[in-house]
């Protein structure tokens, strides 16, 4: 394509990306390197329905000029990134010298909010993504080999988990695994332990969140694979059959190679999605057992006093995390493109 038509062709999407992706990211980065001006606290008498007492309030007049001159606050460099609620550089060093063993050091690190969150986030990402791909593939192959008549309803039911709003879907599972819910009671019966509670145990909560993650995302992999299956060359399949390949060999040597590029696509999408795991933690009220980076951002913004800079720093760290996670896949795609 000539340069000029190419420019006009991509201009609208480039503009949209600039406005809705690039500028917000710049604004988040700027926010994350600023902290608020020093607040001047004054002691005042506060009277409410229940009497008067001494308390404190922010003196706005004291630094009004400073605030209007530099509304972003004071520049702090990477201070927020290094503080205890994020990368906790100082605490890491302290733990390293104070801990007696590797195990001890690990426990101390997992007590820091960022590392606790990233641990769950990574475990979730690397357990859920492959399972989504496997389940999606199995369902797609099964549906594709079903009788034509029932394929419509089968596709519909297989897609249901994705159609349900994540929060609602999670709530359904939340009540099912309750100690008095159908899944919870069954588990108690199977384990022979009437006090077993999924929601009270950290490992079981993690399992529950991941089961939900797979249940919710598998239909996405299914529908992509199902579309891919429609373009498998029937001639090749028939040739394989003539050569005496059984069903497994056909899948192994014809279907899987055909669907490989789609797998890259699904893996990319799922790595990104799962790294941002958020809804199940909120709807399962699981924050006592599992937190994620997105949850940390939500927690910073949801309190009575919002911590914008802290949330911004976590957002930047999330973006960096996604970039690192995707880099192997992107590098591979780039090399393949180059070869062609």
């Amino acid at each position: 394509m000539k340069h000029k038509p190419f420019f006009w062709f991509v201009f609208p999407s480039a503009l949209a990306m600039l406005l809705f992706i690039f500028f917000p990211i710049v604004s988040v980065i700027v926010q994350s390197v600023h902290v608020e001006h020093e607040q001047v606290i004054k002691i005042v008498e506060t009277c409410d329905l229940f009497g008067c007492k001494e308390s404190t309030t922010v003196d706005h007049d004291a630094n009004a000029a400073l605030r209007s001159e530099r509304p972003l606050g004071q520049f702090s460099g990477l201070k927020i990134y290094a503080d205890r609620n994020h990368l906790a550089i100082d605490d890491l060093g302290g733990n390293w010298t104070s801990s007696k063993s590797w195990r001890d050091f690990g426990t101390q690190i997992l007590n820091l909010p960022f590392y606790k969150a990233i641990t769950f986030t990574l475990v979730f990402t690397f357990v859920v993504t492959p399972l989504v791909i496997i389940f999606g593939f199995v369902v797609a192959v099964s549906v594709n080999s079903a009788v034509k008549k029932i394929r419509g309803p089968l596709i519909f039911f297989s897609l249901l988990p994705m159609m349900i709003t994540p929060l609602v879907g999670a709530l359904i599972l939340f009540w099912m695994v309750d100690a008095r819910g159908i899944v919870g009671s069954t588990l108690q019966y199977l384990a022979g332990d009437p006090d077993l509670s999924v929601k009270a145990s950290t490992p079981l909560t993690w399992v529950m969140l991941m089961v939900y993650g797979v249940w919710h995302a598998a239909p996405f992999a299914f529908i992509v694979y199902y579309a891919g299956l429609q373009s498998v060359s029937q001639d090749t399949l028939e040739a394989a059959r003539v050569d005496g390949a059984n069903r497994w060999l056909q899948i192994r040597h014809v279907i899987i190679p055909h669907l490989l590029p789609l797998t890259t696509f699904i893996a990319l999408m799922q790595l990104m999605d799962n790294f941002r795991v958020f809804e199940p933690i909120v709807s399962f009220s699981a924050e006592a057992h599992a937190t994620s980076l997105s949850w940390a951002i939500y927690n910073d913004l949801g309190g009575e006093t919002r911590q914008l800079s802290s949330a911004a720093a976590t957002s930047v760290l999330t973006i960096i995390g996604v970039a690192i996670l995707l880099s192997p896949v992107l590098v591979r795609t780039w090399r393949e493109y180059d070869r062609k």
């Binding site: 509670s197 924050e287 009575e304």
Partner: protein
Amino acid sequence: MFLKRVALASVLAISAATAHAGCQISGNVSIVGNEFPAIHTVANGAAACMGGEVKINLTADHQKINVDGMSGNPAEYSSAIIANSSIVALMNEGVIRPLDDLVAVHGQDIPKNQLITIGGKVMAVAFMANAQTLAYRKDVLAEIGVDVPSSYEEVLETAEKIRAAGLSQYPVGGAYAAGWNLAQEFVNMYIGHGGAFYKPGTAEVAINNEQGVAALEMMKALTEYMNPDFLTHDSNATGAEMEAGNVMIMNMWGSRMGRLMDDEGAEEQVYSNITVGGPLTVDGGSTPASTLWWDGWTVAKNVSDEDAVATFLAMKHGTSPAILNAETMGQAVWMIEGYTPAPVNDGVFAAIAAGTTSYPMLPYHGLLHTALGANIADFLLGKESAEQALADAEAAYTAAAKEKGFLN
């Protein structure tokens, strides 16, 4: 037919007349606030004013939008309905105006105790009170033959007896959901132990002490008698557990007692026996392990004088005796003249009478509340010591307070 129409017309005329009785405004009003029945009543009362437009946005997420909605010039919201914890966020950003001049001209009839003053300036007008107090099943206590507990130690003894009698495996309830609810329970318990949150006159936190540890130990002792899922149970879930007949004794918000004691959602045996008691003390202290709350309204700084006056008049009307009727009377402990308390409100009055302290209205306390909510669950789960959990909460608070400029 004709008679019917006349009757209908006169009914409409009368209701219209009562609706704008004495409330004429000449400006626009826009209200943002939390979403529960009492707030609806206030907002509808304000909307009954004639002469200007009254817009209402009530949502449980009001705290996420009120600061931004009032920061612009002119402000999107001319009034925010807030509680003593959430007025702080508006004060910190300086988006609400002192009401002294408006009170002087238009509000002489507002009872003085309803005016919330900070540093001598009226910043809000309160209209209802709330507190967490005891709720219990009187039939169950009668069956095991114990008096109504007045302290958490007695709650533990009672719980043991209820369990021993086989009446309920997990008889104690509490809104212990990790996050805001759990932090609130710690705030209650710490105040009950006589603890102070900060070094006097500063924003430096000081909760990792004897009282802090004792408060956490008591919370852990209580959780032994709670449904194992307690870290996921908020006020709604805890109330449901009581209505289901599983929980026999718990600490609950005054504003939620009405729902427990009505005939919906529970069997007759359960709802007719749920009784409201006073706030609980702990560790032999005299200050109840609870906090007093008020809800009130404010006026935005960045609105025209005309709209500010209209907002003031509309909100005053929304919280005037005119809104009280048979239906609205039981919705809250109204701090409005003409309010007659029902048994469901006994707890809040008992809390006021017992000298319960009000929830700290400090610029940085919201940060500590968030830090507590995220850090003390680890202790209740048995993952770390009480001292470690408190140290974590302190460290999380300190990092946040530095970001917000409260500490260096």
